[in-house]
């Protein structure tokens, strides 16, 4: 198992894509720390990891709390050792037409989907540089590449991850740390389950494979980028969308 003995941190791991990623990294032998915004969520992560026979724990992390990102990295490193794999997955949506968008909706997306990626990546780099090995994987979105009406805030934050990924990959590539993004298309999760049926049908009509994706299929892409088989891939965005967008 290629991640045996390594510590992985997955934000937003209580359900959906984050949960699938946490389980995939655990299956590769990593000690997985998953974060959630509530105590109940953190507990749920601890439970499913235990059921899977995995090493690891769930922790509460509200990424917008001042100093919380730095504190949780310090806590994990003290308890489990340096973090080798960081998956920036936590994210929210605050959809609205731009003409109706409120500052709070714009700021909530930037504060939750973008700023913690900067903070967490910065905090794990010391350990990764010392180890001369590390993986930072940012979960972006197809809408960062295609755009989507009602999601100017969300797509702007997701597109920002592409630039962040490329610049950081260039900064630290010489130290054996790779930085990549995975851009999911429409995946069957709580986030998309709320969509009306007609809208879903229209969406599926644009997907070459003719179906929504499963969280597992995103986790497999992340698992690949995290393992040694992807050692020569950095600064890339891997689109996993059933062919709804091809770049």
């Amino acid at each position: 198992m290629s991640l045996a003995g390594k510590v992985a941190l997955v934000t937003g791991a209580s359900r959906g894509i984050g949960q699938a990623i946490a389980l995939e990294l655990a299956a590769q032998g990593a000690t997985v720390i998953g974060t959630a915004t509530s105590d109940a969520g953190a507990e749920a992560i601890g439970t499913y990891l235990k059921e899977a026979g995995a090493q690891g724990a769930g922790l509460k992390l509200n990424v917008t709390d001042e100093g919380a990102c730095e504190a949780i990295i310090a806590q994990i490193e003290q308890q489990h050792g340096a973090i080798a794999v960081l998956v920036n997955n936590a994210g929210i949506t605050r959809d609205n037409l731009l003409m109706r968008m409120k500052d709070e909706e714009w700021d909530a997306i930037m504060d939750t989907n973008l700023k913690p990626v900067y903070k967490l990546s910065k905090a794990v780099l010391r350990g990764m540089m010392k180890a001369r090995w590390g993986r930072i994987i940012n979960i972006a979105s197809v809408v960062g590449a295609t755009g989507n009406p009602g999601q100017t805030n969300y797509s702007a934050a997701k597109a920002a991850l592409f630039g962040f990924t490329k610049s950081l990959a260039r900064e630290i590539g010489s130290r054996g740390v790779t930085v990549n993004a995975v851009a999911p298309g429409f995946i069957d999760t709580d986030m998309t389950r709320g969509l009306p049926d007609e809208q879903k049908a229209a969406l599926v009509g644009n997907i070459a494979l003719g179906r929504l994706g499963e969280a597992r299929e995103i986790a497999d892409a992340v698992g690949f980028l995290a393992c040694d088989k992807a050692s020569y891939i950095t600064g890339q965005t891997l689109h996993v969308n059933g062919g709804m967008y091809m770049n």
């Binding site: 010391r126 540089m129 900064e171 130290r175």
Partner: protein, 79 residues
């Protein structure tokens, strides 16, 4: 026990992959020893570990020569 100057020079040589004899007190990491900006960040990390101290970013940015590193460590350890 080696003195601070010797310990700093040894770390600089190790981190930057240069012979210890090339590391003079007046040497600039970037101009004389071929360091890039990331090398200097790592060098400060190594100094923090060797001397068990934390060098704040705004102080770290001012350490660009071997002498400045020696001065910082000497002043800090004296406290």
């Amino acid at each position: 026990m080696e003195n601070i100057e010797q310990r700093v020079k040894k770390i600089v040589a190790e981190q930057l992959g240069v012979p210890e004899t090339d590391v003079k007190t007046e040497s600039s990491f970037v101009n004389d020893l071929g360091a890039d900006s990331l090398d200097t960040v790592e060098l400060v990390m190594a100094l923090e570990e060797e001397f068990e101290c934390e060098i704040p970013d705004e102080e770290a940015e001012k350490i660009t020569t071997v002498q400045q590193a020696i001065d910082y460590v000497s002043a800090h350890l004296a406290k």
